[in-house]
């Protein structure tokens, strides 16, 4: 048993202390390994399947073919598992009660929130970038190996598409993190994420002449991953430019994080 009570040192806890702690938290959870592993496997598996499906077509098929987009489009699946990861990062704390320990350890909630969102954003973005590059190289290897047209990072728009795809999927995961902050429940947060990102567009198809250009999955495939202008004449809507598309997704994620963050600051832990 401790004999004398230590006096409290000078200074105070800062964002850097909470950042170290949050990094350790992410690294010491099995759900991290599971969701990250699942994201890699699912993302690259679908990438391989999509690329493989583009091989051995008749020559005319490759008119306007976009090898970059074809190597990245499998990552939409990674957007799904990435969203689950983003939500779990925060809802896991609520379901286990860890959030109370976190708030008690660092009661200035803006500091805690800043560290939490910052660590989540950096970790998710780094991971999504690595995955995006991996998918690109895998896809191109399969395409060129099978004799189909392929691209390199030097091809027009390719590097932009790969980098932006990583950022975009990271933003989707962060939007899900925002839902997690708002709803504090794993099932509810994942349902909200999947509902808005993947189900809502299907529902919108029921509307006559829906404008789907603002839907995350559509921005991702048609604006971010694409390096070929797919807009055409005759009423086909021109996709958003990559920059506008990415900005829009950043706004979506920002709104979810802002609402979730505001509730986190106000509510009882």
């Amino acid at each position: 048993m401790t004999q004398a009570i230590q006096s409290v040192p000078l200074g105070h806890y800062r964002v850097k202390h909470v950042v170290k702690s949050e990094v350790l938290k992410i690294l010491t959870l099995r759900s991290t390994a599971i969701t990250v592993g699942l994201t890699v496997v699912a993302g690259l598996l679908v990438t391989g399947l999509v690329a493989n499906g583009q091989l051995h077509k008749f020559p005319g098929y490759y008119q306007g073919f976009d090898p970059t987009q074809n190597s990245l489009v499998g990552l939409i699946v990674a957007g799904l598992t990435g969203g689950v990861f983003g939500a779990l990062l925060i809802t896991g704390e609520y379901s286990s009660g860890t959030i109370r320990a976190s708030v008690a350890a660092t009661p200035r909630r803006p500091i805690l929130l800043t560290a939490k969102i910052g660590v989540a954003a950096v970790a998710i973005t780094v991971f999504c970038e690595l995955l995006s590059f991996a998918a690109f190289f895998l896809g191109q290897a399969i395409l060129s190996g099978g004799g189909a047209p392929s691209a390199s990072l030097g091809s027009p728009g390719a590097l932009r598409a790969v980098v932006m795809t990583g950022v975009f999927i990271a933003l989707m995961a962060l939007m899900s993190f925002g839902f997690g902050l708002m709803l504090r429940n794993t099932a509810a947060a994942i349902a909200a994420f999947v509902g808005i990102v993947f189900v809502l567009p299907l529902v919108m198809h029921g509307i006559s002449e829906p404008d789907l250009r603002y839907v995350p999955t559509n921005i991702l495939t048609n604006s971010i991953m694409s390096t070929v202008n797919q807009g055409g004449p005759g009423g086909v809507l021109q996709p958003l430019s990559p920059g506008i598309g990415l900005l829009l997704m950043a706004i979506y994620a920002g709104i979810a994080l802002a609402i979730g963050g505001a509730l986190f600051l106000r509510r009882d832990a």
Partner: protein, 312 residues
């Protein structure tokens, strides 16, 4: 030192904590006593800065919790049985907590050793029994070697050995000069652990007193006396103001006198004592009496009987 001043917390229409004012001084174990649902946990969460009060305030050593510079080095709190992620190991749970307050990581192994969890430090905490979970929670409170400690129902789910350990442990912390605030709905537990009591019911303060005063206020308690010298004891004890009645199995029940007083009588009169037992149930009676109208949840038949008895 913990202080609560006019603390009030409402959930919709119901008031969980109602204008509560009390003090928890250092160097003593202060018991926080009240029936289930009386607002003990809510009060503790407000002290720890987790819940925001609707009005009033709580201070730790004169400062609101949120303004503490190194909270874990100033306050340790065990507020729920399992406030850790089940997939994380005990050691990693304590390590992330230590990092938030720049506490040296060697403290993690020290506190694990202190609560007897060293051998399972690398096991996932989700696999822990309730008792081991409580020990991990207690280890977490000690990480920063804080001067103020709060424990919400720390003996819940513990076996007798564990209960004894916690009791001894809490007394040890207070003996080192720390402020120890421990809640319980078990008055018998508090009678053995606490020096002072803060008693609440339905969120309102009922009593803030020492344990002995609390007993005295409720009529002094009774002592069970087993002796073959029934008549001699009865007259001698009645003579010094005791109220003696026949108990079960040929024993006497003495009201208004303490065990030492009865022992003195025996020594002076050369009377034989086979057994002398202060009856702790009187403390429970006192508690029941005080909280009679303050219990939020009780069976309707009891409530009906109480209402009929009170002619409300």
């Amino acid at each position: 030192m913990i202080t609560a001043h006019s603390l009030t917390k409402r959930y919709g229409a119901s008031t969980a904590v109602d204008n509560l004012t009390f003090e928890v001084p250092p160097g003593l174990v202060t018991g926080f006593l009240g029936p289930n649902g009386s607002g003990k946990s809510t009060t503790m969460r407000m002290i720890m800065g987790l819940d925001y009060p609707d009005s009033g305030s709580t201070l730790i050593g004169g400062k609101p919790y949120a303004e503490l510079t190194w909270p874990l080095r100033e306050v340790g709190g065990l507020l729920e049985a399992k406030a850790f992620h089940p997939a994380r190991t005990a050691r990693n749970h304590l390590r992330w907590m230590a990092l938030t307050n720049d506490i040296p990581l060697r403290r993690v192994d020290e506190v694990l050793d202190q609560v007897g969890l060293s051998s399972v430090a690398n096991r996932r905490a989700g696999k822990f029994s309730l008792g081991m979970g409580q020990r991990l929670g207690i280890a977490a409170t000690l990480l920063g070697d804080p001067g103020v400690l709060l424990f919400d129902e720390p003996v819940n789910g513990l076996d007798p050995e564990g209960i004894r350990w916690v009791r001894h442990f809490l007394r040890g912390l207070a003996a080192e000069g720390r402020t120890v605030f421990v809640s319980s709905h078990l008055i018998s537990e508090m009678a053995m652990t606490a020096d002072r009591l803060v008693v609440i019911g339905r969120g309102r303060l009922i009593a803030e007193t020492s344990v002995s005063d609390f007993v005295a206020r409720s009529g002094g308690g009774t002592v069970k006396l087993v002796t073959p010298d029934l008549a001699a004891f009865t007259s001698a004890l009645t003579a010094i103001g005791g109220n003696v009645s026949d108990g079960e199995g040929g024993s006497l029940t003495v009201e208004g006198l303490t065990s030492p007083q009865i022992g003195e009588v025996a020594a002076q009169g050369g009377l034989r004592i086979y057994e002398l037992t202060p009856i702790i149930a009187s403390l429970e009676d006192a508690f029941m009496e005080l909280t009679q109208d303050e219990v939020e949840y009780r069976p309707s038949t009891m409530a009906g009987a109480a209402a009929a008895g009170a002619k409300e």
